[in-house]
């Protein structure tokens, strides 16, 4: 069957009334949680994962896809109206969007962000549908050593290529990798690092770690800043609709943002932020009104917001075709797959095509729903921004612990939640990134499995890792991604890299 037929079949599955209902719940919850200040898509997905526990795999993943896209839309609303981006990928949106909101043009800013996200999400999801089968074919020639090399590359780009310190990125990654070895070894059944504690035999839950580090760590960090005055929410004055000039100035940035964002997300390198920065720079250079940049230029909202959503859809390419999460959000989505014993990758396309294509099709549907939810109902979401901080964070912790208790109502699990929460707080205080820990925990066992398979085939000869051209090429790229930023930082050119820090997703 051709891609087009598969996609059509997926649409039939996604359009079933129950699945439409799940998608609607997903986008609504995703937008509602994503709009809350301080909550990015990674945390949104981690918090809402338990809601999907009781559903069948297809329904759960469809709801999940809605949550993911909804969280992305919600984040842009926060950064435009509040100037405290909930996610690092929205920083650029806040740059121009908040200026527009202050100048009383919040409506058009929100509209261009929402429509730009829609256009980008639509094109990128179609791009995903058409590119995925090719990568699946490519992945079939991958053996254990190629997969291992690919994962090493993902480790390097997630932890140390961007951000402000190679040392702290690598430390965060290796803490995640160390945590990932806890529990029963998948290949030999030996118990590792459990020290006789039965609760540790199954290893550490990705959702527990992610919720603890993102929700509890962030809450502690915000609490530790002391009580400050409330952040100013810019009221949406006037019409949310864009005028003719706004449309004329927006449509090219939307398309350019999509073209910039999608390939960056689709590469096994991670980081939606890079695309938004590149798009912002491109729009600034190409604009007929460069003087408006920094004072609320609509192109500066339209382009980066499109790039942001396009690369969010792009990260699904390595996730679905290779089983390779390149962001914290994708890592948690992988955990969502694994709770049903599903391992994304080329095999899933062969064994469970309805599920994969249903998921891709439901992304298209979720995108339409989000456009409807976000334009006319924007006033409703804005009201969520005015929740006072004490109630907001009390509520966040309520739902953070609810998920853990719902998955495993044990004192030990809550103890781990608290311990990792404190770890997340301390890491924030000292400027360590959080995402590498989460990616290390989920990708660590997969990388170890591939490494040991490769070495088992070669009977312990390590040179086998470098003798395949693909694996050697990937490892060389990984080495460059590790060394080049080190040199750049040593020469004092690290600012650009630290701006691209992947803090949240």
């Amino acid at each position: 069957m051709s891609t087009f037929e598969f996609l059509l079949q997926g649409l039939v599955i996604a359009a079933q009334p129950m699945n439409l209902f799940y998608a609607l719940i997903g986008v609504t919850l995703g937008t509602a949680v994503g709009v809350l200040p301080g909550i990015g898509p990674a945390l949104t997905v981690a918090l809402l994962l338990p809601v999907t526990y009781q559903l069948d795999p297809a329904g759960s993943l469809i709801m999940f896809a809605g949550i993911y896209y909804g969280g992305m839309y919600g984040g842009s609303t926060t950064s435009i109206l509040l100037n405290t981006p909930g996610e690092s990928a929205s920083i650029v949106t806040a740059l121009e969007g908040n200026k527009m909101a202050r100048a009383g043009r919040g409506g058009p800013a929100l509209a261009t962000a929402a429509i730009g996200s829609f256009v980008a999400g639509l094109l990128a999801t179609i791009g995903l549908a058409f590119i995925a089968p090719f990568i699946v074919k490519l992945a079939l020639v991958f053996g254990p050593r190629e997969y291992f090399a690919l994962m090493v590359l993902a480790f390097v780009t997630v932890s140390s290529a961007f951000g402000d310190s190679t040392l702290r990125g690598l430390t965060a990654l290796f803490i995640g990798l160390a945590l990932s070895t806890i529990g029963i070894d998948q290949l030999t059944g030996q118990t590792r690092l459990a020290f006789g504690v039965p609760d540790l035999l199954d290893g550490i839950e990705v959702t527990t770690l992610a919720v603890a580090m993102f929700a509890i760590g962030e809450t502690l960090f915000i609490a530790a800043q002391g009580v400050k005055g409330p952040d100013k929410v810019e009221a949406v004055k006037g019409s949310v609709w864009m005028n003719r000039a706004d449309w004329a100035r927006s449509w090219k940035p939307w398309l350019r943002g999509t073209v910039i964002g999608f390939p960056i997300g689709a590469m096994p390198a991670g980081g939606a932020e890079i695309g938004t920065f590149l798009s912002y720079a491109a729009e600034k250079r190409l604009s007929k009104h460069p003087e408006e940049f920094g004072h609320g230029a609509i192109e500066g909202v339209a382009g980066p917001e499109a790039a942001n959503n396009a690369s969010a859809a792009g990260t699904l390419v390595p996730l679905l075709t290779l089983g390779l999460p390149t962001t914290a959000t994708a890592a948690i989505m992988l955990a969502g797959f694994q709770q049903y014993g599903l391992q994304p990758g080329p095999l899933l396309f062969a064994t469970n095509p309805q599920l994969v294509w249903g998921l891709i099709a439901s992304l298209l549907i979720a995108n339409f729903m989000l456009l409807v939810l976000n334009l006319p109902l924007i006033g409703l979401w804005v009201r969520l921004l005015t929740i006072p901080k004490p109630w907001l964070y009390a509520g966040i912790l309520l739902f953070a612990t609810l998920g853990t208790i719902g998955a495993n109502p044990s004192v030990f699990e809550l103890g781990m939640l608290l311990a990792f929460g404190i770890l997340g707080y301390v890491m924030r205080v000292f400027g360590y990134p959080i995402a590498p820990v989460v990616v290390g925990l989920i990708l660590g066992p997969l990388a170890e499995q591939q490494l040991r398979r490769a070495l088992a085939i070669s009977q312990g000869d390590f040179s086998v890792l470098f003798t395949s051209p693909i694996a050697a090429g990937l490892l060389i790229v990984a080495a460059l991604a590790l060394i080049v930023p080190l040199i750049l930082r040593a020469r004092g050119r690290g600012e650009v890299l630290s701006q691209m820090a992947a803090n949240e997703d």
Partner: protein, 163 residues
């Protein structure tokens, strides 16, 4: 809570907090070494066993600890903002209380306590308002999630009234 790096006016004094981090990394590395050595004895015949990867992780953690020490002496760590201890203590206390109360008092009371403690950490100290609000809110959440979505949330005296 934590002192910022003290390298003002070009003075090079070690960043003690960073040295503590390095020590913690060494300790983690030691624990992994200890465990991996045991695994090597269990499955000694194969060159690549369950202990190989943990051993490699332990070695890298040790190297990172050395790097952290160097960074501490060079003052490479970013300036830290002043951290308020009291709000952090409220939130951690709330989480600990929830953990201990969960199985005896049930979901609503335990999580209500967490709710009130977190609100207190963010400046709402009127516990006689926030505690009842929290407990009622958690009871509603319990009814939705345990009742409709069938999550297994522990029941206490309050929840049993609705069962």
């Amino acid at each position: 809570m934590n002192q910022g790096p003290l390298n003002k006016a070009g003075e090079r004094r070690p960043d003690w907090a960073a040295l503590v981090i390095a020590a913690v990394l060494v300790a983690i590395s030691g624990v992994i070494f200890f465990d991996a050595a045991r695994l090597r004895e269990v499955s000694g015949y194969s060159p690549v066993g369950p202990g190989t990867v943990p051993m490699a992780i332990a070695v890298v953690l040790l190297l990172l600890a050395v790097w952290t020490v160097i960074a501490a002496f060079r003052g490479d760590f970013p300036e830290r903002e002043k951290q308020e201890v009291q709000p952090v203590a409220w939130v951690i206390g709330g989480l600990a209380a929830q953990m201990l109360l969960l199985n005896t008092a049930g979901f609503s009371i335990a999580t209500g306590v967490l709710f009130a403690a977190t609100a207190a950490g963010f400046g709402k100290r009127k516990v006689w308002i926030s505690l009842p609000v929290g407990i009622v809110l958690c009871l509603v959440v319990w009814l939705i999630f345990a009742g409709l979505l069938q999550l297994s949330l522990p029941a206490g005296p309050l929840e049993r009234l609705f069962q």
